[in-house]
Symmetry: C2
Subunit: 141 residues, 2 copies
């Protein structure tokens, strides 16, 4: 098992590029976000603005939690609340030239980490699956 081959790499070599990443816009309403999550099948996705700047993440759980009233789930609120009121803005970020070890540390607690360039523009995502796929491949030899 040659960990050097695995660990000397950069985040860029594990990247799922932005054009392959499902996302929503900060101005979208929650009913639209819920539809995107349901149709793509992802449990959480990035939130961008129209110039592709990264703003946060939104998940199924955050949406449901936001409309959970005292007596019932208040589904009508989905058309009234926006993504930016509910999303998680406090998210870790990686740069393309970061060492993969920095990504590994972050995916211990995050299923995926957004990758951006120096100006905060979204480049893609770094996922647990990409790390585990390569680890498994090396372990098999």
């Amino acid at each position: 098992f040659d960990s050097k081959e695995f660990l000397d790499k950069k985040v860029a070599q594990f990247l799922i590029p932005s054009d392959k990443v499902a996302h929503v816009q900060i101005g979208n309403y929650l009913d639209h976000a819920l539809l995107v999550l349901t149709k793509t099948g992802y449990s959480a996705i990035p939130v961008l603005d129209s110039s592709y700047k990264l703003h946060g993440l939104i998940s199924m759980t955050m949406i449901m939690d936001a409309i959970l009233g005292l007596e019932r789930i208040e589904f009508e609120r989905l058309e009234k609340m926006r993504v930016e009121e509910v999303m998680n803005k406090d998210i870790p970020r990686l740069l393309l030239h970061d060492h993969v070890t920095k990504g590994l540390e972050l995916v211990v607690n995050h299923p995926f980490v957004c990758v951006e360039n120096e100006d905060g523009y979204f480049e893609g995502i770094f996922t647990r699956r990409e790390v585990l796929k390569r680890l498994h491949k090396q372990v098999r030899r």
Copy 2:
């Protein structure tokens, strides 16, 4: 980086035991399952029966997909449909004495894998986080 220390282990040493795992029962209705998922914050959890036998997994996405009508999300159907109509029954399973390498292969494509005993009774779960935590710890030395 001593992979032998990591890879000679059994699934049992990485286990999150059943008493720590949120789950629902096969007979529950979808509104109850949605509430459990929202309150615990997990995107998918095991489905058991009253004798703790493992039947499948249910996720937020599976529930939303099941009530997605042609014109709108039909939230009233949550009280009419049951977990067993919607859950994924076709899931991989691990045994306590399996090698961790078998678990590693499965978590490439599954965020977690249910662990059972020989009679199909639920023992706990094997998660990506437990694997990555230990990998990261070894990489740091």
